[in-house]
């Protein structure tokens, strides 16, 4: 039970941290911020790895984990690359014409 309370504690602190982190973001960064944080939400890939690699759960659970892994890796890889592409375009403008 104590371990659960500790996790809840972490959850609440992370929530406050998240609110504080991006209280003021210029609007041109809204899209990259969204797609960048979207890539972070692919962290569920960790759960997918554990589920697809654990043979004790039975084949059905493993295949569910496999499906989760494919989707989460699309989310992670695609999300980071797309964000980087967008931010790369923003950068060009700083250079003189």
């Amino acid at each position: 039970m104590e371990a659960l309370i500790l996790l809840l504690f972490i959850f609440v602190l992370a929530a406050f941290l998240g609110f504080e982190l991006i209280a003021k973001v210029p609007s041109q960064l809204h899209t990259p911020l969204m797609s960048g944080s979207n890539a972070i939400s692919g962290i569920t890939i960790v759960g997918a790895l554990l589920a697809s690699g654990s043979t004790e759960s039975g084949p059905f659970a493993q295949w569910l984990g496999f499906a989760a892994l494919v989707l989460a890796s699309i989310n992670v890889v695609g999300g980071y690359l797309v964000t980087d592409r967008m931010l790369g375009m923003f950068k060009k403008k700083d250079q003189p014409k």
Binding site: L21, Q28, M34, S54, A67, S73, V77, G78, K93
Partner: protein
């Protein structure tokens, strides 16, 4: 080994925190994204070292390779104009992945018959599994509907039916009730049936929740669903008792919520209003009758006016994205600049279909950074502007929002183009905007309409200058 893995998770969490922080500022954003991707890489690599849980790498290798390949190709091939739907789709995948992690864990628990050694708090685990299924399922189907609407595969108009909100509310409460029931009777014979019922309703609720929301409200919906996908990951973190999932998921959940609130404020509406009013599409309620008529202007006449203009403001909207006119617009901007005019691009916070949509498109076309202005910066200067060119924007320049108390969008901050000396509105036809409202701007004496495809219109203006 377990201690080492958990330490590495802490480092990954720190990298995510710095990553998000740096994404909030233009100078550091790209590095921030890189740092957060390093955090993700670290989390994946140390998870692979967890030999206690991972006993076979066959599926893992296949799944990682397949997903990474699809993600890579999708990210490289997408057009900047297709960005909103791609982000929506990725987001939906993240939600579905969290749902599947919850499902896999439920299957595992049933196989092990909720053995004490693996599941010390079975009721808690069952309940957070339900949360992961619920939030993940809503995120998945909701994002899918958003994707279909954004890509034009289904109509962007809201779909309403009588008693919709009440029906959705009942479904949601039923879900919560069933979740609590499942948490108490997880080892019951009917638990699996109940589990699948919950999953089905969650998936249905995602569809029902997003179909009544119109295309104009999509920036809010996308950032809200983004927040949800984070919370789904956090719920999955509680399921497998993993702190990096909880921290990263919760960070995304919180930051996504802030972005959602920013979007709502930019439209002077509350989140509840966006989700439950079915506005942003077909409602034409209220609004005084607009007097006057819409006057068209030819390209040639528009050219003479622009040629003499000393100060020009371009207001882009979703129409520019649809017509893919951003490159032509940039070309026109350069010509006007060479002609001695001062040019600015005024960007409304909710122009387009995702937060910051117009910024991305104009950046793609290499429009200089300094020329992009936020609404609050450009409005005080509007009276000194010779020509304001509205390209496929509608509600965000509707003066009724400022002046007509009976209008459905009254109170929404707008870009005051009607105060400019002349307004050119580029528009495909005479129809109303996504809110379904008649735009009072088009009837103003200082407004002239340029009908036709935005890209073609802008290109022919450029040709006029060349001649």
């Amino acid at each position: 080994m377990e201690g080492f893995i958990n330490l590495a998770y802490i480092v990954a969490s720190i990298l995510f925190i710095f990553g998000i922080k740096m994404l909030g500022s233009a100078a550091t954003a790209r590095r921030g994204n890189l740092i957060s991707s390093l955090g993700m890489l670290l989390a994946v690599v140390v998870t692979l070292l967890n030999r206690q849980v991972i006993t076979s790498y066959t599926l893992i290798a296949g799944g990682l390779a397949l997903g990474a390949l699809i993600g890579f190709v999708a990210a490289k091939r997408v057009q900047m104009t297709g960005m909103p739907e791609l982000v929506a789709l990725f987001n939906g995948f993240g939600g579905l992945a969290s749902l599947l992690v919850g499902w896999a864990e439920f299957t595992r628990a049933q196989n092990l018959q909720w053995a004490e050694a693996s599941f010390p708090n079975p009721s808690f685990t069952a309940f957070v599994i339900v949360l992961a299924i619920l939030i993940g399922g809503i995120t998945f189907t909701g994002s899918l509907v958003a994707y279909l609407k954004l890509s034009g595969k289904v109509s962007g108009k809201p779909t309403n039916f009588p008693g919709q909100n009440a029906f959705n509310a009942v479904l949601f409460l039923a879900l919560l009730g069933m979740g609590i029931f499942l948490a108490m009777s997880y080892d019951n014979g009917a638990a699996l049936t109940l589990f699948y019922t919950i999953m089905g309703i969650a998936l249905l609720l995602g569809v029902l929740g997003v179909i009544p929301i119109g295309g104009g409200d999509m920036p809010v919906v996308i950032s809200f669903l983004n927040s949800c996908s984070g919370l789904a990951a956090a719920a999955a973190g509680f399921v497998i008792l993993n702190n990096v999932l909880i921290v990263a998921g919760c960070l995304v959940g919180a930051s996504g919520l802030i972005l959602t609130v920013i979007m709502c404020k930019a439209m002077n509406r509350t989140l509840g209003n966006v989700f439950f009013s079915g506005f942003g599409g077909a409602s034409t309620k209220g609004g005084s009758k607009v007097e006057g008529e819409m006057k068209a202007i030819t390209i040639e006449d528009a050219y003479y006016v622009l040629e003499a203009a000393k100060s020009v403001v371009v207001v882009p909207g979703y129409g520019m994205a649809v017509a893919q006119a951003q490159h032509a617009v940039k070309e026109l901007g350069e010509i006007l600049e060479d002609n001695g005019a001062e040019i600015r691009y005024a960007i409304h916070p909710v122009a387009g279909r995702m937060p910051g949509h117009m910024n991305v498109l104009l950046a793609e076309a290499d429009v200089p950074y300094e020329q992009l202005c936020e609404m609050d910066a450009v409005n005080p200067l509007m009276q000194t502007v010779d020509v304001a060119i509205v390209i496929g924007a509608n509600d965000v320049v509707n003066p009724a929002a400022a002046e007509d108390e009976s209008s459905a969008i009254y109170g929404m901050p707008i870009i005051n183009v009607h105060e400019a000396k002349t307004v050119f509105a580029l528009k495909r036809g005479q129809g109303a905007g996504f809110s379904g409202l008649v735009n009072a701007l088009f009837f103003r004496p200082n407004c002239r309409m340029l009908y036709g495809d935005a890209k073609a219109t802008v290109s022919s203006l450029v040709t006029q200058f060349d001649d």
